[in-house]
C-alpha cells in the first residue's frame, strides 16, 4: 500500500521533535496494515499533536482541547467499519481526563495515541499532567507541587484492555501501533518523546534517557488480560437489536360527555409516596375520555421519596392557556406537607370550591365547603389515599364520573396494579 502522508502538507514540527517520528511510524503502520485513507478517521486534539490530521490523506476531525475522544466515540458508533485513531498530547490527557476514563470503561474499538512529551510545547512549555516535579518548566515552581500522572496505570485501572507504554524511538513501535489498532476494543499507547522546541532546552532528556526511564517502570506492553471483555459497539448493537419497538403511545378513546363546560381546576396536595402524580394523571385521562383538554403540572422535591407532592390540574372544554391554578373547584388535601406548601391558596377559596380532605389534617381557614374522608375507617393505606379521593370525586360526579374513571384506570394500568386500583375505586365510589 502506498503512503498516506499528505505530500502537499509536510510536517512542520521543530527539528528533532519526536512527533515527526510518530507521524512516519503511523504511516508505516497504515501501509503494513494495507488500509486506505477513507477507511481511517484521524481525530486530533489540540497542541502540536493536534496538527496530525493535516499530515495524512484520511478522514480528519480536529476539534477542541481534550475532547477528541468524545467525537471519536460518536464517529465509531455511527461508522463501526472505520479505524478511528485519536492523537493527543499530555495536555489533552489532563484536560480530557473524564473522557479518558470513560473511553477505558466503555471499550469502544478505537485507538488513543498519547504523544507524551511532558509539557505544553505549543504554548511555551508549561507543566502538564505528566511533567516530573524536578523538571524546569514554564510554570515557575508549580510543577514541584504536583505528582505526575501515569496514563497507563490510570487506563488499566479504568478498564482499558490494551495499554502500552512506549518510547517514540523504540524499534518495534510500528508493530506495537499495528497491534493497538487491530485490537478489538479501546487501545491506548502512551508514547514518550522529546520536545526540543521547549522542554529539552532546560531539561536533559534524550531517546536514550527515555529508554532508561521506561526500563525502570513495570512494563505495559499491550493486552491487559484482566480487562478483556466484549467490545462496546458490538455489544450495543446486540443488546439494542433485541429490544421491542416502542410504539407511539396509544390513543385515549373519547366515549363520554363531559360533566361541565369551560375551565375547572383541581389541585392535589399530598406527600411523596402517595402516588399523587399518578392520581392527577388519572383525573386528566378521565377528562380526556370525555373530550376535554387537560394539563398536569407537578411539584415535588428533588429528593423524590420525601416532602410534599403536588399536582395542579386543569380540565377544560376550551383550549387551555395558563396552566397555573387560580380558582380551584376542588382541592384534594391528602397530606399536611402538601397543604403547608400551598397554604396561601386557602384564603382565596370561595364557597363554590370544595375541599376533599383526609380526616385529621389541619386546614388553613377558607370559605370553601369541606368534605372529610375517614381513610382509617375505610382501612386504606397512605399510598391509596389519592386514588381513593379520586374515586370519591367520581362517586359524587364531580369533575369525573365512575365510567370515566374506570376507562382511565384500564388505560393506565395492567394486571395486578389495575386490579388493585379497581378495588379501591369500587370501595370508594359509594362512600361519599
Amino acid at each position: 500500500m502506498t503512503s498516506l502522508i499528505n505530500t502537499s502538507r509536510p510536517p512542520v514540527f521543530c527539528p528533532g521533535c519526536s512527533h515527526e517520528r510518530i507521524t512516519l511510524a503511523l504511516d508505516k503502520t497504515f501501509q503494513n496494515m494495507n488500509i486506505a485513507g477513507h477507511e481511517i478517521a484521524l481525530v486530533s486534539d489540540i497542541g502540536c499533536s493536534g496538527l496530525f490530521d493535516t499530515f495524512f490523506n484520511t478522514h480528519a476531525f480536529h476539534g477542541l482541547h481534550g475532547r477528541a475522544l468524545t467525537y471519536a466515540a460518536g464517529i465509531k458508533m455511527s461508522r463501526p467499519g472505520l479505524h478511528v485513531i485519536v492523537t493527543m498530547g499530555d495536555g489533552g490527557l489532563g484536560i480530557g481526563g473524564a473522557h479518558l476514563l470513560s473511553a477505558c470503561r466503555r471499550n469502544l474499538n478505537m485507538t488513543l495515541l498519547i504523544l507524551n512529551n511532558f509539557n505544553f510545547g505549543m504554548t511555551g512549555g508549561q507543566f502538564s499532567a505528566t511533567t516530573p516535579p524536578e523538571a524546569s518548566v514554564g510554570s515557575g515552581f508549580l510543577n514541584q507541587l504536583e505528582r505526575p500522572l501515569d496514563a497507563c496505570q490510570v487506563a488499566s485501572a479504568a478498564g482499558a484492555a490494551f495499554v502500552a507504554r512506549a518510547s517514540s524511538y523504540q524499534k518495534d513501535l510500528v508493530d506495537l501501533l499495528e497491534q493497538a489498532i487491530r485490537f478489538d476494543g479501546f487501545s491506548i499507547v502512551d508514547m514518550w518523546g522529546v520536545c526540543p522546541g521547549r522542554y529539552t532546552k532546560k531539561n536533559k532528556i534524550t531517546p536514550a534517557s527515555i529508554g532508561e526511564s521506561l526500563a525502570g517502570l513495570s512494563p505495559m506492553t499491550g493486552v491487559v488480560e484482566a480487562n478483556i471483555r466484549p467490545e462496546y459497539g458490538t455489544q450495543y448493537r446486540e443488546l439494542s437489536s433485541a429490544l421491542k419497538p416502542a410504539n407511539t403511545p396509544k390513543g385515549v378513546a373519547v366515549n363520554f360527555k363531559p360533566l361541565f363546560s369551560n375551565r375547572r381546576e383541581v389541585i392535589l396536595l399530598g406527600s411523596a409516596g402517595q402516588r399523587i402524580i399518578t392520581a392527577g394523571e388519572i383525573i386528566c385521562l378521565a377528562g380526556m375520555s370525555a373530550g376535554l383538554n387537560a394539563t398536569q403540572k407537578n411539584e415535588y422535591n428533588i429528593t423524590v421519596l420525601r416532602g410534599p407532592s403536588i399536582s395542579d390540574l386543569v380540565l377544560s372544554s376550551d383550549p387551555i392557556g395558563y396552566t397555573g391554578i387560580e380558582h380551584p373547584s376542588v382541592v384534594v388535601a391528602i397530606a399536611q406537607e402538601g397543604i403547608d406548601r400551598r397554604k396561601g391558596l386557602f384564603a382565596k377559596l370561595g364557597p363554590e370550591s370544595m375541599i376533599l380532605a383526609v380526616k385529621g389534617l389541619v386546614l388553613p381557614d377558607s370559605r370553601a365547603r369541606v368534605h372529610e374522608i375517614d381513610m382509617k375507617a375505610l382501612g386504606l393505606k397512605s399510598q391509596d389515599y389519592a386514588m381513593a379521593a379520586v374515586s370519591i370525586l367520581a362517586g359524587m360526579n364531580l369533575i369525573l364520573n365512575a365510567d370515566m374513571l374506570k376507562q382511565a384506570l384500564e388505560y393506565r394500568f395492567r394486571g395486578s396494579a389495575l386490579e388493585a386500583s379497581l378495588t379501591v375505586m369500587n370501595q370508594c365510589l359509594t362512600t361519599s
Binding site: 475532547r67 464517529i75 378513546a253 373519547v254
Partner: protein, 376 residues
Amino acid sequence: MHFVFMEGNEAIAWGAKASGCRFFAGYPITPATTIYQTMINILPPDGGIVMQGEDEIASIGLCMGAAMTGLKTMTATSGPGISLYSEQISFAIGSEIPIVIIDVQRLGPSTGSATRGADGDIQFLRWGNSGGLPVVVLAPEDVRDCYTLTQKAFNLAERFRCPVFVASNKEIGMTRENLDLDSLEPVEILERTISNTRDGFLPFKAASDSGVPDFLPIGDTFPVRQTSSTHGPDGYITTDPVVISQMQERLRDKLESTIDSYSYYDAVIEPDADTLIITYGVSARAARASQRQLKQKGKNVSLLILKTLWPIPDQIIRQFGKPVSRVVTVEMNLGQYVHEIRRILPEKEVIFLGHMDGRMISPQQIQEAVTHDQLD
C-alpha cells in the same frame, strides 16, 4: 384522532424520531432528563443510537462526531449543561456541524432550582459562543410546539448546517398535556445536501445559491476533513484575511439573510388595538388567556407570539408593531428579549413585564401590565 397525554419533553423526543434523528447523547439533568429517557426507549429498538456522556461536554461531542458521519443528532440539557456545551457550540457554528440542542430552561443562575422554570437563557443561547456568530433559537409554547418545532429545528440544522436550539422551559417540558397526534401540522422532512462530486470536493466551499457547503460524510469513499481551526474552503488552517472574512461573513449571512423563510410566529390581531403584547414560550399561554379576558372586558389588544427568537425576526416585529403605539413585552426573566424589541421599535412605548422566581407569569399580571400603564 389520536389523543395522547404527554409532557413537552416526550413530544420533543417523538418529534425528533419523526424527523429522522438517529443519534442522541445526553447527560441526566432536571428538567431535561425525560427527553433522554424517552429517546432511550424509542430510538435503539429502531436501530438508532443513544449514549450517555460522561458529562455534557462529552454528550454534545458524541453528537458532533456522529453528525459528521451524516446522522441527524440531538442532545438535551438545561442551563448548567448549556454552559458546558458552550465551547462545542462555537465549534459547531464555525465548522458547520448540524445539531439540535434542546434547552429545557430552569431557574438560574447556576445550579439555581432544578424543578422551577424560567426563560433565563434567551440571550445566553444567542451569545454563549466565542466569535458571536448567529445561531437559530426556536421557542415552543406548548406540547404541540415541542413536537413540530423540534421537526423544524432538525430541518433548519440540516439546511444550514448549524446548531439549532429549542428553548423549552420546565413549565412546558415537564407539564403534561393532551395532544391529538393526528392533528399535528405536517412538516416535510429535509435532508442535508450531499455533494454530487467527489473529485475536487472542498468540505467548506459553499454552494453558490445557498451559502451552505454541500456535504460528504466521514466514512465516505472520499476522505473528508473537519476542523475547529480557522479554515478555508479546503478545511485546512488559513491565515489569509480575505479567505477568513469571507468564511465568517458567510456563516453570518447564511442565517441572517434567510430569516424571513423561517420566522415562525403566531399572531392574534385586533384591528383597533393600540397595544401589542409580544411574548414567547410558556408565557404565551398566559398572554392568550389575558387577551381573551381583556376582550371580554371590552379592551382589545393584539398578541404576537414569537417562535423563532434568533436570528431576530425583525420583519415580523416591525410589521405587527407598526399599527400600535404601545408594546408590552412579557418574558419569564428580568428583561432579555425586550432589549431587541426596544431596538427594533424605537418609536414605540415598550413596557416590560417579567419576573424570575419560579412562578409563571399569570394572565392577571399581564392584564394589569396592559391596563395599568395607560392610567399613568
